[in-house]
Point group: C2
Chain length 237, copies 2
C-alpha cells in the first residue's frame, strides 16, 4: 500500500533514552513503508537518510555508506514522497526559515515533512557512535558523538515535524538529517546559518506507530524510571 498521507514510525524516541538499541526492523521493511526517511542503526549506528529509495548512513567517522537491506534499526521514520514546492528562499537564516515554514504550513497539529534542496552555509551535523550490548544510554552516547562542519555545502535537508503532543514518542517539532549532493557529508543537523534553495512540503493525516513487540528488552522495560523528555531534548537538540 503506497499511501502518501501516512508517516510510518518504527520504535519511539523514548526507547533510545535507556539504551534499548537492538535493531528491531530491517531496512527492507522500512523501505516497504516509504522511499524517503531518517533513522539510526542498531546500537545507534550512525545517522541514516533515505532519499529516492536509496538509504545512506553517515557513520561516526563521517563516512557516507550505502545501507544494505538486512541492516537493522531501533528507531526510524519513512514515508512515500509526494512533496509540493512551498517556497524558494535566498540566504535565509535557519530560525527565519523555520518560522516561515511553520506559518505557511499552518500544520502545527499534524505530522508533516519538509525537504530542502540547495546551498547551506555553515552546516553543522553530528553522527552518533555505535555501541554494543550492554548498550549505552542516549546521554552517554551523546557525549561521544562526532561533529562535522562545512562552510558551504550543496545538498538535501530532510525533516519531519511532529506535534508537541507526540513529543517523546516522536521528536516534537522538527527532526532533520542532511546529505550532500556529493554523498560525502551529512548527519543529524545540529545547526546551519542560512540556505538558498527550494523548500518542499508534504502533510500527513496519519502516523503509523509501529512498536518492537517481539523484543523482550523493550517489552519488559520500566519506562517510569527514565527521564525521557529531558534526556531526549539534551541529546537531540
Amino acid at each position: 500500500m503506497s499511501n502518501s498521507n501516512v508517516l510510518y514510525q518504527h520504535g519511539t524516541l523514548a526507547l533510545l533514552v535507556p539504551g534499548l538499541l537492538d535493531g528491531t526492523l530491517t531496512m527492507k521493511d522500512l523501505l516497504s513503508h516509504g522511499d524517503t526517511g531518517i533513522g539510526t542503526g542498531e546500537g545507534l549506528d550512525g545517522e541514516l537518510i533515505i532519499l529516492d529509495g536509496t538509504p545512506y548512513q553517515v557513520d561516526s567517522k563521517g563516512n557516507v555508506n550505502l545501507v544494505d537491506s538486512e541492516f537493522t534499526l531501533p528507531f526510524a521514520n519513512s514515508h512515500f514522497a509526494d512533496y509540493a514546492e512551498m517556497l524558494e528562499v535566498e540566504d535565509i537564516k535557519r530560525d527565519d526559515l523555520q518560522k516561515q515554514i511553520s506559518e505557511t504550513a499552518a500544520s502545527n497539529n499534524t505530522f508533516y515533512s519538509v525537504k530542502i534542496t540547495g546551498t547551506f552555509k555553515n552546516m553543522k551535523t553530528r553522527a552518533v557512535q555505535k555501541s554494543s550490548q550492554p548498550y549505552k544510554s542516549l546521554a552517554e552516547t551523546a557525549e561521544k558523538q562526532s561533529i562535522f562542519t562545512k562552510d558551504s555545502v550543496e545538498g538535501t535537508l530532510l525533516s519531519y515535524y511532529s506535534p508537541q503532543l507526540f513529543d517523546g514518542a516522536a521528536v516534537g517539532g522538527f527532526h532533520s538529517h542532511f546529505m550532500s549532493d556529493e554523498h560525502d557529508f551529512g548527519g543529524h543537523i545540529l545547526s546551519f546559518e542560512s540556505v538558498t534553495g527550494v523548500v518542499s512540503f508534504q502533510q500527513f493525516d496519519s502516523l503509523e506507530q509501529h512498536l518492537p513487540t517481539d523484543n523482550k528488552d523493550y517489552m519488559q522495560h520500566d519506562f517510569s524510571q527514565d527521564n525521557i523528555l529531558d534526556d531526549v531534548h539534551n541529546a537531540e537538540g
Copy 2:
C-alpha cells in the same frame, strides 16, 4: 486491509479538552478500520461501543441506541477482533483484576485490548451530554454527565490499554466502555466492584493515529494554552 495487529485511532484525547468536538469521521469510516471499538459522537454525544460490527450509543438519558453509518465522531478507536482467552475470573475485585491482567499480559509498552464478558457487581457508568457549537470544554461537559448504576448486570466490558508515553494522544492506561447483554445499560465505566466471567486479550504492534486535518478548528487551535493532561485525567477518571 484487515490487520488485527493494528489499533486505529481517530482524533486525540487532547482535542476534547478545549472542545474541538466536530464530528470528523463517519461511523462507516470507523467500521472500515474495525469491527470492535469505542468512541463518542459530535459534541460529545454519548458513549459508543462497537461489538461484533454493531455500534451502540448510550446517550445522556441512559438510552441505548443503534448508531447509523452517517453518525460522526470527533474521537474513536476501532480494531479487528482476534481475541484469545486469557483468564477465567470469579468475583474478582476491579483493582485485583487490572493487576492480574497487567501481569499476565506483560504488555505495558504496547497497545492492547481486553474484552470481559460476565456478570459485573455494582457497575457505575457515565454518559456525556451532547453540546452544540460553541461546544463546551471537556471540563464543562464532565460537570453535566449522567451517572448510571446497576447492582448486578451481565454484559461486555471493552477496554483499550495505551502506554503512558501516549497519554494525551490516547488515554494512558485503560479506557473502558460497557454494554449489557440486554442492550439496556452501558456507558463509559467509572467503576465496578467485581466481576465473574471470561477475560480475553488482544495485543497490537501498531497504532494508526489518524488526525482530522480537514477540520479548520482543529488545525488552527493553539494547544499550548490547554492544560491537557490534568483536564483529561479529571474527566476520564
